[in-house]
Amino acid sequence: GADTTDVATGRVFAPPSVRTAAREAGVDPASVSGSGPGGRITAADLRAAIDARARSTDDDGR
C-alpha cells in the first residue's frame, strides 16, 4: 500500500473528509500532527487539534 510510504515532504497527509473538516473548522491541517499509519491525520487527530485550539483560545480569553 502506498499509504504506508513516507509523506512527501511538506505535504499534509489526510483523507479528504478530514481536510474538509479542518477547512470548516478553520484549522490549518499542516499544524496538526498525524497519528495514523504513515503519519496520516485522522479524524481523531483533528478533533484533538480543534479541542486544543479551543482550550488555548479559552486560555487566551481568560
Binding site: D3, P15, P16, S17, V18, R19, T20, A43
Partner: protein
C-alpha cells in the same frame, strides 16, 4: 411467481412477444433449440418462425440486422450467445447502433436490444467468460444494463425492449440458475439507468453488479458488524451518479466490486464520480475488488480470477477500519 434469472428472462420475452407483435427474437440457436442457456425456450412454438429465428454464425450480421430492423419499426431482441463473441460486432455498436438517432437528428432510431450472457464461473471454454462492460459503457448513445436478480432481469429486459434506443443487456450467466426469487407475473418493467440500493447502511457503500452482487452479499454475511449500504448498479450507462454520490456522502467509504480486469475497468468511472461529487466526504480511499489484469483463465484457474467473497470481505473490512 418464483423464478430464476433465466426463467425470468424467458418470461419477459414471452410477455413482450405477446404484448407487442413488432418484437422479433433472433440469434444463434435461439429458435429450434431454445438457446444454449434456454433463455428463448418455447418462443418459436408460440410465436412462429417469422418472429423467432435462428441466424447464421454471424455476429456482425446479427447486430447489424437488428439495427436495420429496429430502424424499420420492429423491436428486435438479438442474442449474442456469449459476450465473448460480441467483439466481432463491436463496430456495429460503435458505428451504427449507438449513433443512428444522433446522426439523423432523431429521424431514424434503433429501438433494439442485444442480450448476451457474460462473466465467468461456469467452467466454459476460452472467450466464454469475459466482462467488457467498461468498453461498451464508453460508447455514447448505447445503454448498457446488467440485472442481478430475477425480478430485475424481467423488469429491465422488458424496459430494454421497450426502450426507444439500443440497449446492450448483459446477463450474469453464473447466477442464471443459482436461486429463485419472487418475480411479478404479467407486465413488469424496471426503469433503466437507475441503481438499486439493496440494503441501507452507514459504515460503507459497496457497489457491485451482475454476479458480483452475490459474491458481495456473501462477503458481507461474514461481516455482521459492518453496516454496509449495498448498491446494485444495474446500469453501466447511463450511470446513476446520484445514487452513488448520495450514498458515499453518507457513508464516507466505498468499495467497488467487478469481475472485469482492473485497469480501465468501470470502477474507474465510479471513483471519478465520487471524486467529482463526494470527495470531501471520503474517509478512506475507495477500494476496488476486481478481476486481475490478465485474460480470464481456463477453468482450472478460473476461481482465482473471479473476485471471491474473501477478497471482497477483506477490502470491506480494511475500508471500514481505515
Amino acid at each position: 411467481m418464483q423464478a430464476t434469472i433465466i426463467e425470468a428472462i424467458n418470461d419477459a420475452l414471452h410477455e413482450e412477444m405477446a404484448s407487442d407483435d413488432r418484437t422479433v427474437v433472433f440469434g444463434e440457436d435461439v429458435a429450434e433449440s431454445g438457446g444454449v442457456f434456454r433463455a428463448t425456450e418455447g418462443l418459436l412454438e408460440e410465436f412462429g418462425e417469422d418472429r423467432v429465428l435462428d441466424t447464421p454464425l454471424s455476429e456482425i450480421a446479427i447486430v447489424g440486422a437488428a439495427i436495420g430492423l429496429a430502424a424499420h419499426g420492429y423491436r428486435p431482441v438479438a442474442e449474442i450467445q456469449f459476450s465473448g463473441f460480441l467483439p466481432p460486432a463491436f463496430d456495429q455498436l460503435v458505428t451504427n447502433a449507438s449513433r443512428i438517432r444522433w446522426r439523423t437528428r432523431g429521424e431514424i432510431t434503433a429501438p433494439m436490444t442485444v442480450r448476451t450472457p457474460y462473466g465467468a464461473g461456469v467452467r466454459a471454454l476460452e472467450h466464454h467468460s469475459e466482462s467488457l462492460e467498461a468498453a461498451y459503457g464508453h460508447i455514447p448513445g448505447l445503454k448498457v444494463a446488467i440485472p442481478s436478480t430475477p425480478a430485475d432481469a424481467k423488469g429491465m429486459l422488458t424496459s430494454a425492449i421497450r426502450d426507444p434506443d439500443p440497449v446492450l443487456f448483459m446477463e450474469p450467466k453464473h447466477v442464471y440458475r443459482s436461486f429463485r426469487e419472487e418475480v411479478p407475473e404479467g407486465e413488469h418493467t424496471t426503469p433503466l439507468g437507475e441503481a438499486a440500493v439493496r440494503r441501507e447502511g452507514r459504515d460503507v457503500t459497496v457497489i457491485a453488479w451482475g454476479a458480483m452482487m452475490h459474491n458481495t452479499l456473501e462477503a458481507l454475511a461474514e461481516l455482521p458488524d459492518v453496516d454496509a449500504e449495498v448498491i446494485d448498479l444495474r446500469s453501466i450507462s447511463p450511470l446513476d451518479r446520484e445514487t452513488v454520490v448520495e450514498s458515499v456522502r453518507k457513508t464516507g467509504r466505498c468499495v467497488v466490486v467487478h469481475e472485469a480486469a482492473k485497469s480501465g475497468g468501470f470502477a474507474g468511472e465510479l471513483i471519478a464520480t465520487i471524486n467529482d461529487e463526494a470527495l470531501a466526504y471520503l474517509e478512506a480511499p475507495v477500494r476496488r475488488v476486481t478481476g486481475f489484469d490478465t485474460p480470464v483463465p481456463l477453468l482450472s484457474m478460473e476461481d482465482y480470477y473471479i473476485p471471491h467473497p474473501p477478497r471482497i470481505e477483506e477490502a470491506i473490512a480494511e475500508t471500514v477500519e481505515y
